[in-house]
Symmetry: C2
Subunit: 387 residues, 2 copies
């Protein structure tokens, strides 16, 4: 494995009823709270009331910013940061999924940044600090509740970029699986694809002597493959929601990438698609990842054979790694289709008119990927396969 530095200070409150800790956290972080949420589903499922009840009980003064977009925009970040400064906000509370949490991180950092925050998102400068951030998770997907990363879209330039800072780990995150039972099937499925993609991005590496890291990846993927088909048939099942919620957090809190350098080209490719077409991140990954695999398996079949055997239970039976690996890719395709994930860009009405534009955006910082390297042309080809 590679030398690495790991630190993750986020305090996780996991399980039913953990919202009760919000009062003590509020008492600690301050009384002037910016409450951030998305489209209002939290007002229908009771989460908003539970959160407001705790904030009020803690004597907090709450300033609300709702309507955070599924692909959160820099304009919203700017608006939130202005609110923080105007109202002398002590800390930012995100109630929602990864989009809301990502936006909260950007707002919290933008509030104490001395220039326009797109400079940070676009990697021109580093964040200088951040207001404290807390989260109440309502969608199992991105893992943003326990990492320092954030993805923000510039709607004017149609760019979508990931950034992070040691300042933007949430101080605490409350993960109550009961808060996710009303998530509709398509969002549930996109979340599952997203978390599994996070594992895959880290699983595809060339580092040696990583049996524990690889086993951890396989354990999470096995749990997803076993749990997801049951969950999509039984969306209100809290126990299944709990397993999936746990998988989502563990998939991207830094544990899986200790000592390994993952690939991450699929995320770059998907961000470019979402930036241009504003499609769901998980849906884009479900479409692109198998096509990336079709390319990668030809170069490094062994890793795919391991995936096939250890996650999908495919027996090698004396066949070549390439044959076994390809059967594993087909098993992944079948699995994602079986739970209702999209499989073609045309499922979102995307045609071949802007493939090179997107490939250009995906390669803003040069060729992508570490497990295999993709040029602009390679990426355009994968988009084409995915039509």
């Amino acid at each position: 494995m590679k030398p690495f530095v790991f630190q993750n200070p986020t305090k996780l409150y996991f399980g039913q009823g953990q919202i009760r800790h919000l009062i003590a956290e509020t008492n600690q972080l301050g009384s002037r709270v910016l409450l951030l949420y998305g489209g209002g589903s939290i007002k229908q499922n009771g989460v908003y009331d539970a959160v407001m009840g705790s904030l009020k009980e803690a004597g907090a003064e709450v300033f609300e910013l709702s309507g955070v977009e599924p692909n959160p925009r820099i304009s919203t970040v700017r608006r939130g940061a202005a609110m923080c400064r105007e109202h002398r906000i002590d800390w930012v509370l995100a109630v929602g999924g990864g989009s809301v949490i990502d936006c909260a991180k950007a707002i919290a950092a933008a509030a104490v940044f001395d220039a326009d925050f797109w400079d940070v998102v676009s990697h021109k400068r580093s964040a200088q600090g951040a207001l404290p951030i807390g989260t109440v998770l309502t969608l199992a997907a991105t893992g943003s509740e326990m990492n320092a990363g954030s993805v923000i879209t510039n709607e004017e330039t149609q760019d979508k970029m990931g950034w992070n800072s040691p300042h933007t780990f949430p101080r605490f995150s409350i993960l109550d699986p009961a808060y996710t039972v009303t998530v509709p099937r398509d969002h549930t499925v996109n979340g599952i694809v997203d978390m599994m993609s996070h594992v895959l991005e880290q699983y595809f590496h060339h580092d040696e002597a990583t049996p524990v890291q690889d086993g951890f990846c396989e354990s999470i993927m096995q749990a997803i493959v076993e749990t997801a088909p049951q969950l999509v048939q039984d969306l209100g099942n809290v126990e299944l929601r709990e397993i999936i919620m746990y998988c989502g957090t563990m998939a991207l809190n830094g544990v899986l990438s200790m000592g390994v350098t993952g690939d991450w080209a699929n995320h770059d490719m998907e961000h470019a698609v979402s930036a241009v077409y504003d499609i769901p991140h998980g849906g884009g990954l479900a479409i692109l990842f198998p096509h990336w695999m079709d390319v990668a398996v030809e170069q490094h079949p062994e890793r795919f054979a391991q995936l096939a055997e250890n996650v999908f239970g495919i027996k090698s039976a004396g066949r070549s790694p390439l044959e076994v690996g390809k059967e594993g890719i087909q098993a992944l395709r079948n699995f994602w289709r079986s739970i209702g994930a999209p499989s073609k860009l045309s499922d979102y009405g995307i045609d071949d008119s802007r493939l090179v534009l997107m490939a250009g955006k995906a390669t803003t910082f040069g060729p992508r990927g570490r497990f295999i390297t993709l040029t602009l042309e390679d990426i355009a080809d994968i988009y084409k396969r995915a039509l």
Copy 2:
């Protein structure tokens, strides 16, 4: 799974050459350092010089306390705490294995405690704070480098007890596997048994819907079972040392116990043996654990069958969980024996004269264990089986 709270703020520097971060950490934590170590092996293998070089380069004033015992004693804790107060120590740096780190935690907390620190170790009171702690690990075993726990022995009363506090997570830990290549075979083996026991203690639980946690446990144990036999034949192999070092840390940093309640009776039983006979912790666990398993498998065979299949690759072939589980226990015995771990209390010269005394100490706080419950009599019986 059960609701849980997780937070682990320790910063991990893992890999060869990571000692270079010691200078920056020293600059941050303060110039008056209490350097804690054990029997002096660090002076032979170059670790002492590397540490002192960095401390000097950072301009630190170093106060040394050496001779920390393999089972660190409360008298040493008192002496260290007095040094901290006398010399206005800023922080404590432990260079060694789990014993030295455990002692450093106790010293750091005792230095700011208003009464005798045995009150904390014996669970009468809680720690009130602690000086910052840093560690440079030289033995892969206890996981103390990335958790808040500590085990201290009262040599006068022959009690050995575990305690912890949110204040005693190391601020940072430097884990360079090259620092462990000179560890002799018996210490290496005891460390391997210790870390595997930590996994087993957490693996034996009755919580439902924990496929990820169980898979993580099995991944670490698989890696140990695969790596340890090679390592004992090739003690200077840094890559094998690295895998084992990583296993030791992950085995007890809180990740495996998210949402589950482990058993931990074997640790209570072993601490009582070590308190009376001062034997190595890992050696004691190697002796006791299989005998505990012989008892537990009769009550809950399914878990043992899973261990047998997923860690030792034993095929169930239509047999009962009890049969398969028992074969798994035999496989564990064979594995530990194959790497040279002890298997009988008499290997340490322990006879039947103080079994009830030890069983009484093990049950100071009542019956032990959560996977199965053991009374004083049950524990005396396990000691007897282990003679």
